[in-house]
């Protein structure tokens, strides 16, 4: 299951690269910050700081970005508990019991519980990844081009189905991303969609496009909507109470583990991540509780369920990203962008050939949870002041950093231009309900999908009946239909009824 030689090598790799350790505390801090400020999201943080990793080696670069991911998971819980405002969509369920606890004066305890649950949750998610990644890669390596094509389409479709917007709009966004990815000089030696511009020979730069779609467009959306936090009462936090909460979470370890396992499994599925994991886990904990009526009135188990699940979904998402090379959400899409920036192609071949690096990534992420515990504790005390920072100041500053970062990546004005253009397109997409995540994933897997499609075509000689001889492809298509159709039918039937009547 685990390749022990590679594991030892991974340990040595981690010990011999100090940079991999130095970048973690700042990463966690950035994640805590962006998670804790309502409106700013973890994907904005990861997108904006992606260019910084240009100057790092692969391992520290990815550890830095996953540290932002990890920090953001707990950062979002702070305003959720203190002010009933989830810092990101992953902490919605944290408000259900976290805020009532704060109203009862038990906010220190709630923060401690949330922190411990986040730490254990992240740890469990990565343990799962460590256990399955090698085996999974072994299987996936045996898949041929037709199978990989089905897997890529499957991933895209799941993101389209499981999104908040309609299925049709998800498909539109995915196709848009695929088409944009084909701009430039193709593998078959053809110039596509460049309009004769030298700049576009290499295509639309994926990372500035990703920064524009994830970060800039969301920041435009935030403008003019100041969150009402100025009048929220901020409470004094005492270290003793936090430790009490941490202890309480460790005593309720079965609940933490249950939440973590739910989060991990939900995280594996493309299209859903922390934002679904926390709600699913909360619902499950409530259903299995001896007295469900205590939920929503300040039950620590509610905070545990939500925080353990939103943190562990990170490790689950990494399973899909590493094994298949397909990102399931915004965070893993940015990681795939970072892979590309360092000329690494995610997927089974990478795992098989660089098992030590993959294990080092996983071990590094497990070690990060201890850093999260320390940095997160310190952060709780300053969080009150940070959360009150007016968002209108943060918006232009974050955009300015993103533009400079984009210039650093492309080395010319195409980078900033792409950020601005993709930001505008992303803003329109969000406004009219098209999921930007599907577009970004389409953009990132487009090259792989086209490659597998062309290879399938060449092997089969253009004969579609070829797939009838490939049982695994047929099985995968069957699974694809099984996983996508029920959701579609439910939507078509209940679409009118389920519209929120607020």
């Amino acid at each position: 299951m685990i390749d022990t030689t590679a594991l030892v090598a991974a340990g040595q790799l981690l010990l011999s690269s100090p940079m991999a350790w130095i970048v973690v505390p700042p990463g966690i801090l950035i994640g805590l910050l962006f998670g804790a400020v309502p409106g700013l999201s973890i994907s904005i943080a990861m997108a904006v700081f992606l260019p910084v990793t240009l100057y790092m080696d692969f391992l520290p670069a990815i550890l830095f970005l996953t540290a932002i991911f990890t920090g953001g998971g707990f950062g979002a819980a702070i305003p959720a508990i203190l002010m009933n405002i989830p810092g990101t969509s992953g902490a919605v369920a944290t408000t259900f019991d976290g805020y009532p606890m704060a109203q009862q004066g038990r906010h220190g305890e709630a923060l401690g519980i949330g922190l411990a649950a986040s730490v254990i949750g992240t740890f469990v998610g990565y343990i799962f990844l460590l256990l399955v990644v090698g085996t999974l890669a072994g299987w996936i390596l045996r898949l041929g081009p037709t199978e990989m094509l089905v897997v890529a389409v499957w991933g895209l479709l799941l993101i389209a189905v499981l999104n908040d917007s309609t299925f049709a709009k998800g498909v539109v966004a995915g196709c848009l991303g695929l088409l944009v990815s084909t701009v430039g000089y193709s593998n078959t030696g053809m110039m596509r969609g460049t309009f004769g511009s030298m700049y576009l020979l290499d295509g639309i730069p994926a990372i500035p496009a990703l920064i524009g779609l994830f970060a800039a467009s969301e920041l435009f959306n935030l403008a003019g909507r100041d969150y009402i936090v100025a009048d929220a009462r901020l409470r004094k936090v005492s270290l003793a109470r936090i430790f009490e909460g941490v202890g309480q979470a460790f005593r309720k370890w079965t609940a933490v583990i249950r939440g973590s396992l739910i989060g991990t499994v939900v995280g594996v599925i493309p299209g859903v991540g922390a934002s679904v994991a926390n709600l699913a886990s909360y619902a499950m904990a409530k259903r299995r509780a001896p007295d469900p009526r205590t939920f929503g009135k300040g039950d620590p188990d509610g905070v545990i369920a939500s925080e353990a699940a939103n943190s562990s979904s990170e490790g689950g998402g990494m399973v899909t990203l590493l094994a298949l090379g397909i990102p399931g959400g915004a965070g893993t899409a940015i990681l795939l962008g970072a892979f590309a920036m360092h000329n690494v192609t995610g997927g089974p071949r990478f795992i098989a050939e660089n098992t030590d690096i993959v294990y080092a990534l996983i071990l590094g992420n497990m070690a990060q949870t201890i850093v999260l515990l320390v940095v997160g504790l310190a952060f709780v005390f300053v969080a009150g002041a940070i959360v009150k920072t007016p968002i209108r100041y943060l918006i232009p500053l974050v955009i300015a950093v993103a533009m400079m970062g984009a210039y650093a990546i492309t080395g010319n004005m195409l980078g900033p231009m792409t950020v601005a253009g993709a930001g505008a397109v992303g803003w329109l997409m969000r406004r009219y309900g098209y999921p930007v995540t599907a577009a970004v994933v389409g953009l990132l897997v487009g090259g792989m999908a086209e490659g597998e499609l062309v290879r399938s075509w060449q092997i089969s000689g253009g004969n579609i009946a070829f797939i009838l001889d490939r049982p695994i492809t047929l099985t995968l298509i069957g699974l694809l239909l099984l996983s996508v159709l029920p959701g579609l039918i439910r939507r078509a039937r209940g679409g009118r009824k389920t519209h929120p009547v607020s």
Partner: protein, 176 residues
């Protein structure tokens, strides 16, 4: 918020009406772009593999756009209030003032960023960033001038210093 449900519903239906032409135009533009791209590729392709991904993706995209649009329009005519609120429309973030001011500010900011990108080759990152931050704060309603100028100068200077001197990126600049 102090709005009655009736007011809120009227407000939503009006917002949906205002959005409808935009949704139509956006979908149309997307469909045209996809169609034109696929057609131009098909026109100049020499082998099947040149268009193997692009043409099907464009066709699926256009078909899905038609579905998406009928869904939008149906929602508009049958039950205007059924329009899903924007994902950001959480209870905590009412528009600052007026009915659509949030959207207008967002749109203005989007144009400003496009202008920032286009002006960068001439203004450089130092002056360009200063002007961008100052104007962005102005658009968002900041009227404390001293603070506005201070933040813009400080951020432009600091960011250019970090990227140019610390990270060694050759940012084009005017003064710094």
């Amino acid at each position: 918020m102090s709005h009655s449900p009736k007011q809120a519903s009227a407000r939503r239906s009006l917002a949906a009406l205002v959005r409808a032409p935009g949704a139509l135009l956006f979908a149309l533009a997307l469909a045209l772009a996809m169609g034109f791209y696929a057609w131009s590729i098909l026109d100049s392709a020499r082998r099947t593999t040149d268009w193997l991904l692009i043409v099907p993706a464009a066709l699926v995209g256009i078909a899905a756009l038609v579905f998406a649009l009928t869904g939008d329009l149906k929602g508009l005519f049958t039950a205007p209030s059924a329009e899903k609120p924007a994902p950001q429309a959480e209870p905590g973030d009412a528009p600052a003032s007026g009915w659509f001011s949030g959207d207008v500010v967002g749109f203005a900011l989007m144009l400003l960023v496009l202008g920032y990108a286009l002006a960068l080759p001439w203004l450089g990152f130092d002056l360009g960033t200063f002007l961008f931050v100052a104007l962005a704060l102005l658009i968002q309603g900041e009227r404390r001038w001293l603070r506005l100028v201070f933040v813009s100068i400080l951020s432009a200077g600091l960011f250019v210093y970090v990227f140019k001197t610390l990270l060694g990126v050759r940012l084009p600049t005017l003064f710094l």
